[in-house]
């Protein structure tokens, strides 16, 4: 029998032992004596979440294509196992070999959301790796961070040896080759990091120094050595068809969140919503060819046996090959009982036609994301969707047999007034009304239309035009949420309406972590010592642990959340170059103030700066 790092007794005493035994279909097993580099790739959350992440599948496949690298997976042990591992001193292990993470050359951690930061410390501690970069020795793995939160690495800078800024497909080969060379030449950890800092997109925080003004703002951010660059430019893929994409993705035993084959049709988004970080940092839009995608779809469905495929991107309606790829999938896979799932589609005649062909209309509900209730606010946030679009789309949907609609909104957007907030309720009511106007009484068959509206609290993110915006206080969020909730009760169709809003405690903390600086590292560490872990899980999150941490560190979180930053202020993440210029972001911040809409990238170029990468939508039709 295959050996597991955990004893049989432990495995039988915890929830879902399948999280920890590896051995999934398409897992890669190599001979550890025949590889030069052992890489543990980690999603710092529970298995079911981590296994659903496409980025890890891409890197796992790509790293393992190298004969000299064995890449294995690590996830956060759930709280039940966490306790056992601490009680019995069991070190954290990678799933494939079940070997200790501490014996690996690299531990690469993907940073998908800020609320996982305490889980990074959990993974490090359980692995027996010093939490602080400065305490690590030659025996510890090199700890790398990557992913969207690496665009402001400062709050977690002290925990990482290096950050990889940008898309993973481009520079890891260079990094691995450098590592091997350094090891062959008996170079120290420091020497390796010094040289790694010369690779494009690699940021080594220990090589930089930060100074603050008396008012707490950043005074200076500088590299300690002349050859270490002061601006780190993100890495991006130039041609999406030229980089590896998994043909044999992992198939978990247990049901995970994204339990299907994922086809990434494009990267980036043409829309430029001003609140959206992904829409800015993944610029410019780059599409994959339908030939590439059909080939991968075929191979992935064959190798996994999955019965569902999803077309993934930030805005799949903007993928120009959508009609072709969906038609191909329906023609080739409907008879093989493969479901086609299409998230993030704009609701229009075309998408409804597709959806009615691939989904059970009776069961599914349609989602619109107006993000704001009033047209004025939608202009402020540059959400290029009008009330007419929503009414037309929902009318089409009602005629097509749908009678459940979800509407997503945000509360606490910049320049928001109470009248905008109340429009969330009124718009929801108008959508319900639209049902009664569209569907004659005799055709309703006693079915009640349901409009489920939900609001999350807006959190300003780095590298968006709203990076300077003050965030609402938790009390202000709650006040607005209650305002909307009360308004819903008074709507004409209130029996057809539901309204929910998200947890405001979590939002405030996320706001601090998103725009924090290096001083936040010690707060995260304190909160972790106070027991904080799995903070993105509402049933586990405990505000008190964080409150104490902020007090103990003497840090006022409002400095990071509620303060309006001046456009002249040096921001902790300014040293990173995403291709989108600060000048453009400032212009967009001004446009937001004035409610001026900026056209999408296909309509006309607004000169954001991403054209410097020489690819994608910036050069379409040239």
């Amino acid at each position: 029998m295959k050996k597991t790092a955990l004893s049989d007794e432990i495995l039988l005493s915890i929830e879902k032992p399948e999280r920890y035994i590896g051995n999934e279909i398409n897992a890669i097993i190599k001979d550890k004596d025949k590889v030069d580099i052992r890489f543990a790739i980690c999603f710092p959350d529970v298995y079911e979440i981590g296994m659903s992440h496409l980025g890890i599948q891409i890197l796992y496949d790509m790293f393992n294509k190298r004969e000299d690298v064995w890449c294995e997976r690590v996830y956060s042990p759930w709280t039940d196992l966490d306790k056992i591992m601490r009680d019995k001193n069991i070190p954290l292990f990678a799933l494939e070999s079940q070997d200790k993470v501490r014996d690996f050359d690299f531990l690469g951690i993907t940073l998908q959301y800020e609320m996982c930061y305490t889980n990074i410390l959990q993974v490090l501690e359980l692995s027996g790796i010093p939490l602080l970069q400065k305490d690590r020795t030659e025996d510890d793995p090199i700890v790398i961070g990557g992913g969207p939160c690496a665009y402001n690495p400062e709050p977690i800078a002290e925990f990482f040896d290096l950050f990889y800024i940008g898309e993973g497909e481009t520079k890891y080969d260079e990094l691995f080759d450098l590592y091997k060379r350094c090891r062959d030449e008996n170079k120290s950890r420091e020497e390796f990091l010094r040289q790694a800092a010369l690779i494009d997109g690699i940021y080594v925080p220990s090589l930089y120094e930060v100074k603050y003004n008396e008012d707490g703002t950043l005074a200076e951010f500088r590299s300690l050595y002349p050859d270490v660059r002061t601006v780190v430019k993100k890495n991006i893929v130039t041609r999406m068809d030229d980089v590896p994409y998994p043909e044999k993705p992992l198939v978990p035993f247990i049901q995970v969140t994204q339990d299907r084959v994922v086809l990434e049709v494009m990267r980036g988004c043409i829309r430029g919503c001003r609140f959206c970080q992904a829409g800015q940092i993944y610029r410019p839009v780059r599409e994959r060819s339908t030939e590439f995608l059909t080939d991968k779809a075929k191979k992935m469905l064959n190798s996994t046996g999955q019965d569902e495929i999803t077309l993934s991107s930030l805005s799949t309606s903007d993928y120009r090959g959508l009609r072709e790829i969906v038609t191909w999938l329906i023609d080739n896979y409907r008879e093989k009982y493969v479901n086609i799932s299409l998230p993030s589609l704009r609701i229009d005649e075309f998408s409804l036609d597709i959806m009615s062909r691939v989904q059970d209309v009776k069961k599914s509900s349609l989602t619109f994301a107006p993000e704001a209730g009033s047209q004025r606010m939608r202009n402020v946030i540059n959400k290029g969707i009008t009330e007419e679009d929503i009414m037309q789309g929902s009318a089409e949907a009602f005629k097509g047999g749908w009678n459940k609609v979800k509407l997503y909104f945000m509360l606490g957007l910049p320049f928001e007034r109470d009248e905008d907030v109340l429009e969330i309720s009124h718009l929801s009511d108008r959508v319900a009304m639209n049902y009664f106007d569209t569907i004659p009484k005799e055709k309703r068959k006693g079915i009640r239309v349901m409009v489920n509206s939900s609001a999350s609290f807006f959190i300003p993110k780095p590298f968006t035009p709203f990076q300077w915006a003050p965030m609402n206080s938790p009390d202000e969020f709650l006040r607005k949420a209650h305002l909307v909730k009360d308004a819903f009760k008074n709507e004409l169709n209130h029996k057809s309406l539901k309204f929910q809003y998200h947890e405001h405690d979590l939002s405030e903390l996320e706001g601090v972590l998103a725009r924090g600086d290096r001083r936040i590292s010690k707060v995260i560490m304190k909160a972790y010592e106070n027991g904080a872990v799995f903070d993105s899980w509402q049933e586990i999150f405990d505000r008190e642990r964080w409150d104490r941490a902020f007090t103990e560190c003497g840090i006022d979180r409002r400095f990071y959340t509620e303060r309006e930053r001046d456009v002249e202020e040096l921001l902790p993440w300014d040293f990173i170059d995403t291709g989108v210029s600060k000048k453009f972001l400032i212009k967009e911040w001004e446009n937001a103030k004035n409610g001026v809409v900026t056209p999408n990238c296909r309509k006309s170029c607004s000169g954001c700066g991403a054209a410097s990468f020489g690819t994608g939508v910036c050069f379409e039709g040239r």
Partner: protein, 268 residues
Amino acid sequence: MRYIGHLDTMRFFQRLIRRSNIDAAYSEGFSPHQILSFAQPLGVGVESNAEYMDLEVKSLTTAEDMTERMNRETAEGIEILDMTLLPEKCAKAMASVYAAGYTVVFRPGHEPDWDIMAAVELFNGTESVKVMKKSKKSYREVELKELVYSLSVKMVPAGEVFPEGPLSGDVIDDEKKEVPVLDMVLSASSGDNVKPGLLIKALRTLDSKKHRTDSEASAPDTSSEPDTASGSGVPEEEEYPSKTDLMITREELFDSNMKPLIDAGMRF
């Protein structure tokens, strides 16, 4: 594979069938699914050499070819052993399963501190062994003698019990030390399914009763066994055997004629 739950096993097979290009039949309706069912769920922690799955297909090649294709696509620890073709109108395995054969050993370090040889002998020689069996909501008394079709025990050197080595975390002190290995065939019909643990618990109770009648021959039987329900009707939950005490392997499933289920089908 002992850690994979029943629903996950089902999902595993659905995908395995797709990967192996088995021409499975699908149900009608908006969310069609493979027409597939297992004879009996296997508990987490239990191993098996004989799981049965019914699958409806639209076309066949040979059993050899289909077995080979599926085994190429399977995960370590799950293997297709055999296939037969069932007559068109035949009961599902789920309905025809009547009894299950198990091998049961004690985990190293969890060996019984009671006389299992004597208990088995006592069990086989006695007329009636009544125990309380827990069902979903209640407890009810069942007659084990009617539900245990055979039971034997032999002593085997520990090294032979675990030819591939013990489970992770287990240590065998002495490979030559003999440990008990039980073979049992138990009722597995849907109403009267008996799990090996229930029989082990009954055996221990038999053994302790024997000791009591030996030493306290004339004392009144005041110690009510957990099975003599009092008051609420729910006896104290006794954690024996715990889920880590035993290593259970399901060896075969039988129909009401005590024939292995595989015999119900034709070779193809």
